[in-house]
Amino acid sequence: MQFKDYYQTLGVARDATADQIKKAFRGLARKYHPDVSKEPNAEARMKELNEANAVLSDPEKRAAYDRLAQGHRPGEEFRPPPDWDAGFEFSGRGFSDSEAADFSDFFAELFGRMGAGRGREGAFRRQDAGFEARGEDHHAKIVLDLEDAWRGALRQISLRVPRLDAQGRVVLDTRTLDVQIPKGVREGQLIRLAGQGSPGLGRGPPGDLFLEVHFQPHSRFHAAGRDLLVDLPVAPWEAALGAVIPVALPDGSTLKVRIPAGAQSGRQLVVRGRGIPGSPPGDLELTVRVVLPPADTPRAKELYETMARELQFDPRAANRGRADA
């Protein structure tokens, strides 16, 4: 286990006041908050910041940490001496199982046992005789391919789970789960895995694990809820005369779509019930995009010139009289 310098994490001096710590945390939280930040490692950084803040903003934890930290450098191999926290009373805010799972081994080793066996506030008072409660729920993100919404998916998920060892210390185990994602899933939807959260207290049942679904960007399709949006490239004569156009769907099937004569570029066509499957299934929304053939041969040029001569077509007729016409 490596020693963590929480002061360095927050960029404050060891004698920083509570106000300076709060200010530093808020400034960095604005920069790395996963809801806001575009930094690639924002989520990991935010966890580090929360962990450092959980210790340094709590006078009791900070005092205990300060005593322990003397003479240690960040990254250095570290093992806390037995009963290092003797003489400190951790009466402040505890932390939940789900928070503990986000924090480092270093934090869990130092503060994880607060409450365990001492009856104080904290998430780990598992041994309290006769006490019984449901375990906490956990949350994780899962990234799927759009195609998985049709066929379902089998995914492996690794989770860090806090557990008490025989000495009453908190250790973080890595648990790997194989999960079958049912078909019909949509962006932002939650998948519940019953009983896969934290273990219960006493005879209490375990919590649940919630997976939040995200899709990898797809080269052709966009999903909006269960609706599926796609551009439909057509030749000018298909748009002008009407046509039946084959559309390949993410599940590998092909749908034949009739476009009406005179369909302009940008016109939307909806095929009900052919979006992402579910109850009810989404719609397939096609946006017509007229693609011009290049006039790069004498014959192609001649055809365009014939149209120009014989069609009497003015694409700007609607703009007549306007200043920008």
Partner: protein, 102 residues
Amino acid sequence: MHEDDVLIGVLLEDACLTLDELSRACSVPPDWVIEHVREGLLSVPGESPAAWRFSSRDLWRARQMLRFERDFEAAPELAALVADLFEELDDLRARLRRAGYD
């Protein structure tokens, strides 16, 4: 891997989480949820708390508001306002992606 080792995920459809389930999933007491619904910061999901049913989206929003309240010590109204703005931002970004401006 045996077939028995594979966990089957259950999709949470709209209006499916009870007040207790939502509170538990957010690690907050039910009073936190009730107060936020009464203040209009979370959508009102039915007549009485016992009949309330929340969606995936409600859970996502509640957890986002909690993060703002916790990490920035934001007032609930401010956390809700920021969550509203993010919802709109997500919607606009999705429209940009659909229009080919990734």
